[in-house]
């Protein structure tokens, strides 16, 4: 009985230490120490991640098709670039119909600046969907900066340390992106489900949403720049007695195979509330 009591006391002391650290962390006092501790971890994490991906690649594809894969990758990249140009042109034409030529003419979009960075890990908590990238405040990465690939939107930077940052991806249940459906011009907000499904909610009942329609960021709210591809409509749920209709979309980005992402460093998001609030 005495031993059990001493165990309980010992466990209680350690739990109190952990709780104290939690309070300090929530107050922000531990951020410098966490950044310092993450420096060596980032290097090890990046090394291990790249080795794992190299082994995975070599096991999953024969060596004699390496050249073809490279060519295929180049062509896919070109196709993605052309698709992006087509989408951009279509989007501008649709905007012109709505807003008028004059307004569209006056509209200027600054050239984006990008920081390419490796994905070095994923959130160890199975309840959160985020990735760790190898760029931090040393590289001028700031909280709220959008993160994309050539396929579309990945998410945005939610925590920044000196050499690493955490990116909350759009399939995280806490993430919400203001979007616009390309053809029907309806606005909505993404709401990720815990099973990984990505829905668009708050779509106007009058909008004629169809499957395969592209979903783009709307830029509303200042959280993301406009016209980044988010995904494609898979199905639509419309009930007469509901205020809004819903759409299930397929994200444009394959989140399981992210290796390199681009941080849009020229975009500064409007102040966002802390995660979870």
């Amino acid at each position: 009985m005495k031993t059990w009591r001493s165990r309980g006391v010992y466990a209680g002391i350690l739990i109190l230490v952990a709780a104290g650290l939690m309070l300090l962390s929530l107050s922000g006092f531990l951020r410098p120490a966490q950044g310092l501790a993450l420096r060596p971890i980032e290097a090890a994490q990046g090394w291990l991640s790249s080795r794992y991906l190299a082994i995975h690649d070599s096991l999953s594809s024969p060596r004699d098709v390496a050249t073809l894969r490279q060519q295929n990758s180049d062509l896919q990249s070109q196709v993605a670039t052309l698709q992006r140009e087509i989408i951009s042109l279509r989007e501008k034409a649709a905007q012109a119909d709505i807003l008028g030529a004059l307004l569209n003419y006056a509209r200027t979009q600054p050239e984006n600046r990008y920081l390419a960075t490796n994905v070095v890990g994923r959130d160890v908590s199975p309840f959160l969907r985020s990735i760790w990238i190898a760029g931090g405040s040393d590289d001028k990465v700031e909280r709220g900066m959008p993160v994309v690939t050539e396929s579309g939107l990945v998410g945005r930077v939610s925590e920044v340390y000196a050499t690493m940052s955490r990116v909350q991806v759009i399939t995280d249940p806490q993430a919400a992106v203001n979007i616009r459906l390309q053809n029907s011009r309806a606005d909505g907000v993404t709401a990720a489900q815990p099973n990984g499904e990505l829905r668009v909610e708050q779509i106007n009942q009058a909008a004629d949403v169809v499957t395969d329609e592209l979903v783009l960021t709307s830029g509303l709210g200042g959280g993301y720049p406009p016209d980044i591809i988010v995904g494609q409509v898979l199905s639509v749920r419309r009930r007469d007695y509901e205020l809004f209709q819903q759409a299930v979309i397929r994200p444009a980005v394959d989140f399981q195979n992210l290796e390199i992402v681009l941080v849009i460093t020229s975009f500064h998001a409007l102040p966002v509330a802390p995660s979870g609030s």
Binding site: A18, S25, L26, L48, S125, P126, F127
Partner: protein
């Protein structure tokens, strides 16, 4: 000695969990390597070190997570304490003991993790978390529980050989 080996091991396990195991998902579940290590070490009877491992391992996990810093430590220390209570029972040496301990440990670990996320407003759906994360994670942890316990026992015997009076 247990801390000299344990701390680098826990750091390595946390990094492997973030960099490698995140690619190997069963639904959304994955084995919790640090939890396995803490439970396995607690089963060797070295409860004081197991609780220390729990505190340190939890901090390492929380460094690589968006979860509240310290939450995993609280969960793992509590898990080590619960597992240490099996010491001295008549079924302590049973072959399936690691499975029972891992079942309780995983349930406690996830319950505290979910509660911490819930308190900070980061978890919207408990049912989906249970079916898509907790149950697959529990299955994988149970699968690895016996090998982990045997490895820990072998390591413990190598580091701390029993004294023999001649």
């Amino acid at each position: 000695m247990a801390y000299l080996i344990g701390l680098p091991l826990l750091l390595l396990l946390a990094i492997v969990q973030s960099a490698v195991l995140s690619h190997l998902l069963l639904l959304d579940g994955r084995p919790d390597l640090v939890l396995l290590a803490v439970v396995a070490w607690a089963l060797t009877g070295r409860w004081r070190e197991a609780m220390g491992w729990g505190l340190a391992g939890g901090l390492m996990l929380d460094l690589l997570s968006g979860a509240p810093f310290g939450a995993s430590s609280i969960a793992l220390v509590l898990v080590a304490f619960l597992v240490s209570l099996t010491e001295g029972r008549f079924w302590e040496a049973h072959l399936l003991m690691p499975l029972g301990a891992m079942l309780v440990a995983t349930a406690a670990f996830y319950a505290i993790s979910i509660a911490a996320l819930f308190l900070t407003g980061q978890l919207p759906d408990l049912l989906a978390s249970l079916t898509r994360v907790v149950l697959p994670g529990l299955f994988l942890n149970l699968l690895l529980a016996i090998p982990a316990a045997q490895l820990a026992q072998a390591l413990c015997s190598a580091l701390f050989p029993p004294e023999v009076r001649i």
